[in-house]
């Protein structure tokens, strides 16, 4: 039996998505910028996709800018806004647990002369509004806080964070990396005070190599790619028509019956965590606050479980699970001669011994109870075996 539990890395494209994309590649392969009918047909697919996505976010069509994925969306949002608004100030704020697409871009912006404040989070991986409040300054131009953390699934109080940012100064831009939350949470940028929102296609059962950035129409932003001036000059390059349509289709399907899907995921997650906690020497990371398990499980995202297994190296456990057809991610990719310890896990205070013993299980709407049971059974069989042979 197979259990694909690495959905935060990527998801299986929906059948409808693949079919739609194939039809478009077959029949409507024109360039959306071409003046003839073939171009118009292709352009219509792009328009339709913008409409769908704008409809989900309840924003304007023209506020959707297609990119090559989450990384490019983050790069465009941060670099584009920092450069365009540098006269108003050079201070940027983010958290220590952002995806590298944000953290590395911030590092680069530091080299360009911007000053960046990296905010601490609590032991559950949540940013406290007071922490942000204290960091805001008169020269702050942009705040970037992810919605759902990709490693532990912690959820940030985005609406509150955006509100207090705007209360401090309405001109400060608020960016959210929603790569892990789009499709799992209802996100309404206008109501929540989000100016820029990054989304990736392949995390929601769409194709790889496509994503979009929502940019509020009032935001001052400069492009990072120059060329033929497509997408109102903000992102040059011929639009990846089939992938754009595929992503919109995936989003549409993902948001159908959102509530019942989410509840189902939470039920699976709760059951899985309950079982995990019966195992010896296991810590579940980033479990939220609350009195009972159901409440604590629901404080974080419905599809991510991070767990540390004492005295077991995550890479070995990952490969042992793989032999049972269970596919997961190592919390921190670590090899003997090149330790690359996860910043997120460090930031939430995971003990040093456990940093290299952490596994991420991530679900999708495809995930079944049978898969999770298989994963759990495999774990309970493998763990004692691996613990018998440990390095000294």
């Amino acid at each position: 039996m197979q259990a694909y539990l690495d959905n935060s890395a990527t998801t299986r494209p929906f059948d409808d998505v693949r079919e739609l994309m194939r039809t478009i590649e077959d029949k409507t392969y024109g360039n959306p910028s071409s003046m003839h009918a073939m171009g118009v047909l292709a352009e219509n697919h792009v328009k339709e996709a913008s409409e769908t996505l704008a409809g989900i976010l309840k924003v304007k069509e023209k506020e959707i800018c297609f990119t090559s994925g989450g990384t490019e969306s983050d790069n465009l949002a941060l670099t584009g806004c920092a450069r365009a608004n540098s006269r108003a100030g050079k201070h940027l704020i983010t958290t220590r647990i952002e995806h590298p697409a944000v953290l590395q871009t911030m590092k680069h912006l530091e080299e360009e002369g911007f000053e960046v404040t990296y905010l601490d989070v609590d032991g559950n991986g949540v940013l406290h509004p007071e922490t942000l409040e204290k960091a805001l300054r008169s020269d702050t131009i942009l705040v970037s806080v992810m919605h759902v953390n990709n490693e532990i699934g912690s959820v940030q109080p985005i609406e509150e964070l955006a509100r207090l940012t705007k209360a401090y100064a309405p001109s400060i831009l608020f960016h959210t990396d929603a790569v892990q939350s789009f499709g799992k949470f209802r996100i309404l940028p206008k109501r929540m005070g989000i100016d820029l929102l990054s989304v990736s296609g392949h995390k929601i059962h769409g194709p790889k190599g496509i994503g979009f950035l929502y940019v509020d129409e009032h935001v001052k932003i400069t492009p990072i790619l120059y060329g033929g001036g497509q997408q109102k000059g903000l992102r040059s390059g011929t639009e990846n028509v089939a992938a754009i349509a595929g992503m919109a289709k995936a989003a549409e399907l993902e948001y159908e019956d959102l509530q019942s899907k989410t509840e189902n995921l939470y039920a699976l997650k709760e059951d899985f965590i309950r079982k995990l906690l019966t195992l010896e020497a296991v810590t579940v990371n980033g479990l939220g606050e609350g009195s009972g398990l159901p409440e604590r499980v629901r404080a974080s995202a419905p599809h991510i479980v991070s767990a540390s297994f004492d005295k077991v190296r995550s890479e070995v456990l990952l490969h042992a699970l793989e032999e049972q057809g269970v596919y997961v991610s190592a919390g921190s990719a670590c090899a003997s001669n090149k330790p690359a310890v996860s910043e997120t896990l460090k930031a939430i205070g995971v003990k040093k011994d456990l940093l290299d013993s952490t596994i991420r299980f991530s679900f999708s709407t495809d995930t079944t109870k049978e898969e999770l049971d298989h994963a759990f059974e495999s774990l309970s069989r493998i763990l004692p075996m691996l613990r018998k042979y440990t390095r000294h």
């Binding site: 890479e315 070995v316 090899a335 003997s336 001669n337 390095r391």
Partner: protein, 396 residues
């Protein structure tokens, strides 16, 4: 300049007496093999004790040279301009044009080295040297003759056609692969063993390889890395049969039964035993490892002695006297370095003790190996039985 031929130089083969043709034939067939990597219409011929590569039409010069530089046995590659014999006047013109194109500054010292292989040519070698030298001196006032250490040694060969060449691009040297039997290389994902394979292969030895993996402790990517390394070696060594042995059970059994500071030594002794077993089955004449004295605990003189002790076949260690930097230099030259340093754990490091023995006592090791008696034969047989064979072709 358009070169339509390459003269292939080889030295060591020329002294192999009656076996010479065997070596030459091996060299010719290997050259044909590597030229399949390059687009172009190549013909490789052996003629009066020389090997020529002729090419019709368009081809990529750099790619061709790079391919030829993978052929052991070649000491030099001379790009040749080929012209027809239409009298001395025409030859003089061709020589002048060759020099103008190849050496635009035209201020070097030179020597003409004419060779008259076709004896009915009206001038002999000495006359040709003098006449051509005169023409060059008349034409280019800044060029001077230096018969002892010329900057340009201009060779003009009179054969059916006339060949003009002057520079020699170095080849890898060594002997054609396959002329010296076959050996089994213990290939890990590290820097050393691919270099060891290259060195042995350079002496004309064909290679098979064995890789030990230990899933789930080592990953599929670690195995892929070894396959990639083998592909890179195969560019020089020709097709390699890579035997992938699952070592996990043996390793865990040793871990369970033997003192942990001797784990690496005992493990290596079993790797050698398995490698030798496969080597015998595949008619190899020796084992090859990338060890170098004192590099790590398992490569001290004492450790080497105890791993050596289990083998009846000779174990070749071409890097035994190399420093790490020297090994790295070769691995960079043969383009295995970048792959070797990819960070995947191999099975030698997963259970490595903090302080492994550096001076193992063979008697003690043997006594501890007795603890394995109960199951080791069965595990050994299973490791051989379940091994996977991957054929690494050199033209992919």
């Amino acid at each position: 300049m358009h070169y339509s031929s390459f003269l292939i130089k080889y030295t060591e083969i020329a002294i192999k007496g009656k076996n010479r043709y065997l070596f030459e034939d091996a060299l010719v067939s290997r050259i044909r093999q590597v030229l399949k990597r390059v687009d172009g219409d190549f013909a490789v011929t052996k003629n009066q004790g020389r090997i020529y590569v002729d090419v019709e039409g368009d081809y990529d010069f750099d790619e061709t040279v790079a391919a030829l530089q993978c052929v052991f046995g070649i000491t030099g590659i001379c790009p040749v301009v080929k012209t027809e014999d239409e009298g001395f006047e025409k030859l003089a013109k061709d020589v002048i044009r060759y020099l103008e194109e190849a050496y635009p500054s035209l201020d070097q010292t030179f020597k003409v080295n004419a060779r008259r292989a076709r004896k009915n040519y009206p001038m002999n070698s000495m006359e040709l040297n003098m006449e051509l030298g005169g023409v060059i001196l008349d034409r280019f006032e800044n060029m001077k003759v230096d018969v002892h250490h010329p900057q340009i040694m201009l060779t003009v060969e009179i054969r059916e056609h006339i060949f003009i060449y002057s520079h020699v691009i170095p080849g890898p040297g060594g002997m054609p692969v396959g002329t010296n039997g076959k050996a089994m290389l213990l290939l890990s994902g590290g820097i050393d063993s691919p270099v060891a394979g290259y060195m042995i292969s350079k002496r004309g030895v064909k290679l098979d390889a064995v890789y030990f993996h230990a899933p789930p402790y080592t990953s599929e990517r670690a195995k892929q890395k070894v396959v990639d390394l083998a592909k890179q070696i195969a560019k020089y060594a020709g097709t390699i049969y890579l035997h992938v042995v699952n070592f996990t059970d043996i390793q865990l059994y040793i871990y369970e039964k033997c003192p942990h500071d001797e784990l690496t030594i005992i493990m290596r002794r079993y790797m050698m035993r398995i490698a030798e077993h496969i080597a015998k089955e595949t008619e190899c004449l020796g084992l090859v490892t990338g060890e170098s004295i004192g590099q790590v605990a398992s490569q001290t003189m004492q450790s080497l002695a105890s791993t050596d002790e289990v083998c009846t076949m000779p174990v070749y260690r071409p890097l035994i006297g190399f420093d790490k930097q020297e090994i790295v230099a070769v691995s960079e030259k043969i383009d295995t370095y970048e792959t070797s340093i990819l960070p995947f754990e191999d099975c030698c490091t997963i259970f490595v003790a903090k302080h492994p023995v550096t001076k193992p006592n063979l008697k003690v090791i043997k006594r501890h190996e007795k603890h394995l008696e109960e199951q080791i034969d069965e595990l050994f047989a299973k490791a051989i039985e379940t091994k996977e064979l991957i054929i690494i072709k050199d033209c992919e």
